[in-house]
């Protein structure tokens, strides 16, 4: 108790708080711009809790109160209860299975009165804390494979539960935590293998089967030729290269088709192909029985097209708040939540988008800087966890609105409309600020 600060503001990183406030205000404006109806009295609508921007304003208030509470908490509380958080998070995720509400397209939401609660969203905080806790344990030696596997399990378990709730997008967020593990010493080979696999999968989708196989074979021969000296010394190297070639061709020939045919749902296949700008090939089409390949009305494709039109028509300087025809007149779907970036892009143009992205980048860099100044491994790991989650959300959300990533429904931090997501991101950030305020302490 002697560690308690006389003022809660002591040691608090104000720059993070200012950035946070700025982003939430931008978010309020964006939600306002996307949902304001011509002729409504602006002030009253902001107060009456009926419009989306009004609700967002109240959530902002709740978030601020919550943030204040977190700042008032003892920073030791978080490492001490991290595992408890995780247990609670997993418990809630499991509760979803029997108690989820019948909302179309998802099985991840529990209805509490008029409030929709999505445990998968909340679980990010739990995983961030639990992972930090595990990595900061004195007896964790992260160079050992066993520790790496345990850390992976902490991350992947909730992700699997989320996939089972038909929220693939939210599940993918958990993979962002690999960035934390990378920072803590996960071999960089894994990162490289991950990226190489990504490139292989994308080329499988883009290129014709046999062409790609030929290219891979050519690459393999090139490697063999350039390494002929080493191979002469060590024959097993040749075996390894051939094995690698086998794996690559295997993925390309059978792995990807198997995933597309058996694992992915129809809309996911469509979204992925929509992103790379191709029609879904006949073999992956999942039409109704007897009606093969009824994918003529491709909503994902429509959404991305309209979103690109909205952003593109903003031009360099934008049309101004409330002047965007695309976002104002309902052409962009889900524009207050997943496609909220369109409102910025159309209303404020390239300049506005650039400024917003710069603010986000500033936030991320600031978090990384904050992370690196921690003396406590727990705080550092947690900070990287926050940075990774934010990064994943921002990058994937914006990339999806400009047509660079498949449409997976994840919100833009602090800006998208939605109580759960605003509160989750606020809690994530304010725990970090709380931990950072006590950076002189070594927390376990």
């Amino acid at each position: 108790m002697n560690q308690r600060n006389p003022a809660i503001s002591k040691g608090v990183d104000w720059s993070l708080i200012w950035i946070y406030l700025l982003l939430v205000v931008i978010g309020l404006l964006a939600v306002f711009g996307a949902t304001y109806k011509e002729g409504d009295p602006i002030f009253q609508s902001f107060i009456n809790f009926k419009t989306d921007y009004s609700k967002q304003l109240y959530f902002f208030g709740i978030a601020l109160v919550l943030g204040l509470f977190i700042l008032l908490t003892d920073s030791k509380f978080f490492p001490a209860t991290a595992n408890l958080w995780y247990a609670a998070g997993i418990f809630m995720l499991l509760l979803v299975f029997p108690f989820h509400s019948p909302i179309k397209g998802t099985e991840s939401i529990i209805k509490l009165g008029s409030f929709n609660f999505q445990p998968a969203e909340f679980c990010k905080i739990c995983v961030a804390l639990a992972l930090a806790k595990y990595l900061s344990r004195p007896d964790t030696d992260f160079t050992r494979t066993r520790s790496q596997l345990i850390a992976t399990a902490i991350v992947v378990f909730p992700a699997i539960l989320t996939v089972m709730q038909k929220e693939t997008g939210l599940a993918l967020v958990f993979f962002a935590f690999f960035l934390v593990m990378y920072r803590e010493g996960l071999p960089s080979g894994i990162l490289i293998i991950g990226m190489a696999t990504g490139i292989l999968v994308v080329s499988t989708l883009l290129l014709e089967k046999n062409t790609l196989a030929l290219i891979l074979t050519g690459l393999g021969l090139l490697v063999v030729y350039s390494m002929r000296r080493q191979i002469r010394r060590d024959k097993s190297l040749l075996f390894k290269i051939v094995a690698l070639w086998f794996i690559c061709v295997g993925i390309q020939r059978f792995g990807v088709p198997m995933i597309f045919k058996n694992l992915l749902a129809k809309h996911q296949v469509e979204r992925i192909y929509s992103t790379i700008g191709r029609d879904v090939p006949a073999e992956y089409m999942k039409g109704e029985p007897g009606k093969p390949g009824v994918v003529a009305v491709n909503t994902a494709d429509y959404n991305v097209k309209q979103s690109k039109i909205a952003i593109g028509s903003g031009g360099a300087f934008g049309k101004g708040l409330l002047k965007g025809t695309q976002t104002r007149y309902g052409f962009v779907p889900e524009q207050r939540t997943d496609f909220i970036f369109d409102t910025i892009g159309e209303g404020f143009g390239f300049v506005g988008s650039f400024v917003l992205l710069s603010v986000y980048l500033l936030l991320l860099f600031r978090i990384v800087a904050v992370a690196e100044r921690q003396r406590s491994v727990f705080s550092r790991c947690y900070a990287y966890g926050v940075a990774a989650v934010f990064f994943f959300h921002i990058a994937v959300n914006v990339a999806m609105t400009v047509g660079l990533a498949p449409v997976i429904g994840i919100p833009l931090p602090f800006i998208s409309y939605g109580g759960t997501s605003l509160l989750t991101f606020t809690i994530l950030l304010f725990i970090l600020i709380r931990l950072d305020a006590d950076r002189q302490m070594v927390l376990r």
């Binding site: 803590e184 690109k308 990064f391």
Partner: protein, 699 residues
Amino acid sequence: MPVFNQSRSRIIRLIFLVAFVVIIVQLFYLQVVSSEYSKLAMNNAVFPKIIYPERGIIYDRQGKAILNNTRMYDLMVTPAEVKNFDTLSFCTIMSIDTAEFKQRIRNVVSKNNSRVRPGVFEDLLTPQMQARFEENYWRYPGFALVERPVRIYPYNVAAHILGYINEADPKDIERSGNFYRQGDYIGKSGLEATYERVLMGQRGVQYWIKDNHNRLVGRYKDGVLDTVSVAGRGLRTFLDIELQQLAEKLMTNKVGAVVAIDPKTGGILAMTSGPTFDPNELTGSDKNKNYSRLVLDVAGPLLNRAIKGQYPPGSTFKPLGALVALDEGVITPDYGFPCPGRYNLCGHGKPACTHAGGGHAANLRLSIANSCNSYYSHIYRLAVDNPKYGNVKEGYQKWKEYMNAFGLGIRLGVDLPSEDKANIPDTAAYNKEYRGSWNSCTNLTLGIGQDRMTTTPLQLANAMCIIANRGFYFTPHFVEKIDGETDDDTAFLNKYRKKHKVLTHISDDAYQSVIDGMQDVVTMGTARIAMIPGIDVCAKTGTAQNFRVIDGKKLELPNNSMFVCFAPKDNPRIAIAVTVENAGYGATWAGPIARILMEKFLNDTIQEKSEVDLERISSTNLMPIYLNRLQFIEDSTRARRWFETTKDSVYLRKYLSIESQDQQYPNDPLPQGQRRVELLAILRDEKQFRKPTNQLLPG
């Protein structure tokens, strides 16, 4: 704890940076480099609503509106609002069945690609339907009446002159360089087509914002980009609508044409073509049905015979022949020809003449009054064989130039679309037919307006203007002035305000003797029927042979009744050409028609005798009988084609059921295995035609 792996923080920052740069590059491409997205957004969200102006009004010479605008109503439906709906009673009101109702709603939805945007359920409601709907308006949510301007012809006449409008077809749109759009109305014929740019006015555009359901939600940029529509301007014509009505009444149930021109201005006072139709049939809700009926009618009610009918002028040509011969100096007004009743100088004794001897062609005036065929055949020969041209081909060439100067064989340039030039054959045509060896005997009957020469009624009326004016004419036209005339309009109208002094070089004496001769025609010759007390009328009758190929046989049909005239002699105010197909002598039908019209125009009233004639003529049906046969061939052939392409025998059945009538022709049994419809399309009974005359009849 020692800070190991710290270098990795840099890599993580780099990953962040690279991701953001990639996104920003894509943003830059979308927002700054590519311009297509703003256009797409405009297409998405901005709807240019065309505001159609009222079309211009057409007035007659006394300022009466003869083509005006009225309001009709389209029944619009907003499919999404059609709820709790009494479909059955609605269908009863609209006289449709429920399947049709659903189909139309579906059409509206698919046309607009929206359920919430209104579309046309039925256009141009009949007044009865409109009244029925308005009484029950409150019972049918989602339906509303929308006003729409429609053309109206208050006098029900002048269909060929005024023309009609209809939706622009793809060809119109292409020809206009995409000025017109799908659904725009455009003048399709008559003055509506010629003066389209004047009458249409200027379209306005309102820019509306629409949402993703295609609903119009507000004005784009508060309407600063909008343009107002400007109403079409009016046309002031020379037409005398009462004269026009009279002419159309006279031409009831006749095939032919009447053209009346004011020689002093070239202004057309009346122009009618029989058979005609009520122009109001091509406006309003039944216009498409009416149009197909008119198109399929073999009598050709849509054809303006005044400018497209090509008739041999027959004896009406004789005054022109006389003027040519006089001007060429091959005869004088005193020139006489001893006609024995036929023309023998070419060896075959043709053409024959109604009169024989008695000095009926002792001079020019007498020859015109008695319409001597020998005289005019001979002076034609004298003109083309004129020694100063060396040979007949040069002489004929010269003669053809005269004809062209008289406005024959050329397009006069009337302000109606698709005028025909008819035919004055050139030497090449004769060279081809007779392999270069022909002489003035070969086409001898050109001198009496036959052979291969044809003229349109408009050309004949115009030729009368030239004679009446003694050598000049104004291009016949309808429009005298355009309201708010612009420079472009003036440039267009100037060609009608220019005096064409084509034949002023012919001497006054020549004109005088021909005009005197034409007066004699009325006072003592073939056209005494055209006499009007107190007015010196100059005229010429004509009776022209004509042939028609029907069912592979060339048939000689009853003669065309022709009449040309102008009056008064010394101060000509009206020149008329009348053609009535297959009606017989010129003096029987065409003559009285011209007289009644002259009386009406010059005296503003018609004499008692003419009232009787008017009733007699207008109630006489002179429609050629062969039209029935033609119609039958056309209809049965079309039914047959329809059956062959669609295997739908609905139309064909009607013709097959005539089988019983076939029993009336025991001499012509059906060949084995032949289709009955083919047999029906062959002409059997030539007796249904009036017996053709064998000899040429002078007028």
